[in-house]
Amino acid sequence: MSKASKIAFLNPLSKENPVIVQVLGICSALAVTTKLEPAFVMTLSVVAVLALSNVIISLIRKTIPTSIRIIVQLVVVAALVVMVDQVLKAYNYEVSKQLSVFIGLIITNCILMGRLEAFALNNGPWLSFLDGVGNGLGYGMILVIVAFFRELLGSGTLFGYQVVPDSWYEMGYMNNGMMILPPMALITVACIIWVHRSRNKELQEK
């Protein structure tokens, strides 16, 4: 892999993570993280939409007039999201029910607009593809970490399988119902930011 493609792919995973550093796409990142399974499906959907829309926009970047580029981007993204939505409804109806409106909201996910504007409009298709996959994975990483803690502490399960042994419950261990409620998602993300920024001092705000 050349240096440029390495940067495009690896930077979004930590140093320029879309969620905790660029603070994009928070809406869906928090809402789908009560369980691991929807978080995982959401990650896959975002990676697919982001990579494909990056490639498409990068291929037609020289023919789009600048004045209408936002509309063009919205239409491309919306078409891709509709496809993902239909595929999910066909093959995994349960999860698509759980994700409810949040698949549709990928259209207005700021990560997409941000990457299309900042990267795909100025770079070739292969680099844009890597950038899309990298950002999608960086986003998904945070989602999966948050969902892991919330499902483990909130329901004592992982991917729907019980991992906290029954004997613990008999000894008086209780699931922490707080973790399932929306506010705890915010606080979990804040803890991730805390750990991440104390390891990467250059990211701290003064």
Partner: protein
């Protein structure tokens, strides 16, 4: 009465930010001072009130399965619901554009105070989110949809103004270095969310 209940619920209990995290991106980016936050909040409220009845009509008379039957019996079995997302986002984007032009012409002072926020609202998830929830909940009249839009908008306005006020005060506090800026904002939003949950179960 029913509508009043929905109105109060959508402000406090189903609050766009604290219960569904919708519109978080602009919420976090803009909430640095009260004045701009209030301006953005008003703009969102405005767009929500206008766009919900229009998308409701679109959903009722074009998109739902069998909605086209007013064109004639041969259309009774048409189902265009898969086009929903594209239609909604196009309508919202167009509406924002029209509202921007009208406001610029007839209320230049409001236009200047809203500034760049108006065009950005097209990609604010709170708007598309409210429209999708409206579709999911199947409201039975355009009026109910408008009430829901107004409630969600006021809830959003309330949330962003409060957080901006807290962040202004926070400038003078001694926050751990890695949490400064975005981290502490997340925690405060979480705590406010817990506070708002005490409204849970209120019924009028």
């Amino acid at each position: 009465m029913e509508d009043l209940n929905l109105f109060i619920r959508s402000i406090f209990i189903d609050n766009m930010i604290f219960a569904y995290f919708l519109g978080m991106c602009s919420f976090l980016a803009v909430s640095k001072n009260v004045k701009t936050s209030f301006g953005l909040g008003i703009a969102v409220l405005f767009v929500l009130i206008v766009s919900l009845p229009i998308t409701w009509a679109l959903n009722e008379y074009v998109l739902q399965p069998g909605a086209l039957s007013w064109l004639g019996p041969e259309y009774a079995s048409t189902d265009l619901s898969f086009l929903g997302l594209i239609m909604f986002i196009a309508v919202i984007a167009a509406l924002v554009q029209i509202i921007e032009m009208v406001v610029e012409k007839y209320a230049p002072s409001l236009y200047n105070s809203l500034g760049i926020f108006l065009p950005l609202i097209a990609v604010n998830c709170a708007i598309l989110g409210a429209v999708l929830f409206m579709q999911q909940r199947d409201f039975d009249s355009a009026w109910t949809a408008t009430v829901y839009g107004a409630g969600s908008g006021i809830g959003w306005l309330l949330a962003i103004t409060c957080i901006a006020a807290i962040r202004e005060k926070l400038e003078y506090s001694d926050v751990p270095a890695p949490l400064k800026g975005i981290g502490i904002t997340f925690i405060i939003t979480g705590l406010m969310g817990i506070a708002f949950m005490s409204f849970l179960g209120i019924k009028l």
